[in-house]
Assembly symmetry: C2
């Protein structure tokens, strides 16, 4: 069993050539399109398989693809896909759970520690000249209140590293209280943000979580705290975030600066603030994650064709 | 009981003014000198208390100070003080143990994660423009072999964070094998360096450890590994390190670039390599460590004068 025609919005460089070969082995034809390609309507008409990266797939796109049987996302989050509508059309949507859990969790501490210890300034100045440590400041993670918002795979690992490793006090918010670890304390989101020194946001984006960081929550965030968001920015009321950042009393770090995640004007709005630190989407960028992701992605396609589908999200 | 005369090589800015006030409360006189001040011989002649930062105190200095009773180091390591000779002259030497344990351990992960995830390049490029993650690489700590050389206070914390937090496999070398944690594996130093992906060096400098990283050990370090040295560079045969760095197959990160730790020619020798990353001495630079350090330092003086000396190292 093979796909008749695959339409792929995934750029060539996102998969190693041997994985593209495996994909071609289960398809009669493969068409590569840029995300905004105007040929999309025509090419989707006879496609039975759609491959995407972080792109959204809305009702209109699905209606343009009456033969679609399968949408394979080369990502964990599928919040931008209308998975319910896809199911109503008998389209199976698969994702890649967990492949970047460790990569995202470790990045959280990479960017937090960079900020706390002024690592980039120190590295740059030290490269140029002998630099005294006298004009540097630092703070420690140990003993601080560390809030984890969303205790799924990634949030759980962030909590383990922050608590079991660095010795922070772990507070968490989750839509369903969990008894994963006796020393983690559940709190309502509006309470958690009031006292936590560090807040790692690891919520999935869906109808319930979109905009969960509303103006009230954002205004309640503890002054001098550091917020690290490796989750989609759609969790935030960006205007309220803009206003809070303008006060200059919190630091906001996020790694979602690609066009699919934030438009130019919102990005410029946030980047104007010194207390807003941005990164490329590095969360999933490790050798280990890249290999695991590709293995699972191809296996998802093959398993679907063998009528033993795995990693279905709808 | 008060000191008659304190000679201090500690720069004014190293202590907050309220701590200088506490020191002055237990001394009739305080003379501040730069480390290389030529008046040092004369001023030491009638001093009974010498305060130092990381400076060395050799036999000659001690001989110039026949009335000296106390040497207070505003540091943990006292490897550059001739403590035995000081004891022979009935001089008590005190240090500040443990104040920077957490600060150094956390810095180890700050600089390791910076390297592994290309944090500084990512931050700089992201500030300038929208940056794709496509040209970034990364690697994870989880599941790797993590070697800790020296399992004292700092090394133990590094091992806890790397193992209990990040999920690395912990190997350690210590001059005396310790049964601190069932999952840590003791190895000889020449064995440890052969297979560990990351090596954190946390040995104290003393007669036994000076030069312990000799040519044979350095040449045995696993290719592609990352070595993080937050300990004194005197642990290394710098010529052998130079030769190994020239091969370009290991990364060496260290944070001791002040004149007291390494001379200009050695520093330039190491810094010429892209695979040698330097930082200012940030290991102890956190708000928490600074406060603890000053509290302990002043308490050491007061306790000595009350005939209840603490933190004696000789």
């Amino acid at each position: 069993m093979k796909f008749k025609k695959i339409v792929s919005f995934i750029p060539n460089e996102a998969l190693d050539s041997n994985y593209w070969q495996k994909i071609d082995a289960v398809a009669n034809k493969r068409v590569m399109l840029a995300q905004d390609d105007h040929g999309v309507t025509k090419e989707l008409a006879d496609a039975d398989c759609l491959l995407i990266l972080f792109n959204g797939v809305d009702r209109i796109t699905i209606e343009r693809a009456p033969n679609l049987k399968y949408i394979g996302a080369l990502a964990t989050g599928v919040g931008k896909i209308d998975t319910k509508y896809a199911r109503s059309k008998n389209i199976t949507v698969t994702n890649i759970p967990g492949y970047s859990t460790e990569a995202v969790a470790e990045l959280t501490f990479a960017v937090l520690l960079e900020y706390l210890r002024e690592i980039c300034r120190a590295k740059t100045e030290s490269k140029q000249t002998r630099t005294s440590e006298d004009n540097f400041h630092g703070a420690e993670i140990k003993g601080k209140d560390f809030g984890v918002v969303g205790l799924g795979r990634i949030g759980s690992r962030v909590a383990e590293i922050a608590g079991g490793g660095f010795g922070a006090n772990i507070y968490y918010f989750s839509r369903s209280p969990k008894q994963m670890h006796a020393s983690y304390r559940f709190e309502r989101l509006d309470q958690l943000v009031k006292h936590c020194d560090f807040i790692s946001i690891n919520l999935e984006l869906n109808d319930e979580t979109a905009g969960i960081f509303n103006a009230e929550i954002i205004n309640n965030i503890k002054p001098k705290s550091v917020v690290i968001n490796t989750a989609p920015l759609e969790l935030f009321d960006l205007n309220a975030l803009d206003s809070r950042l303008a006060e200059g009393d919190i630091t906001f770090i996020f790694d979602h600066t690609d066009p699919g995640d934030i438009n130019d004007s919102d990005l410029q709005m946030l980047k104007q603030y010194e207390n807003c630190i941005t990164y490329p989407v590095l969360g999933y960028v490790t050798d280990e994650a890249r290999t695991a992701k590709q293995e699972i992605f191809v296996n998802n396609l093959e398993s679907f064709l063998l009528d033993k589908p795995v990693n279905i999200v709808n």
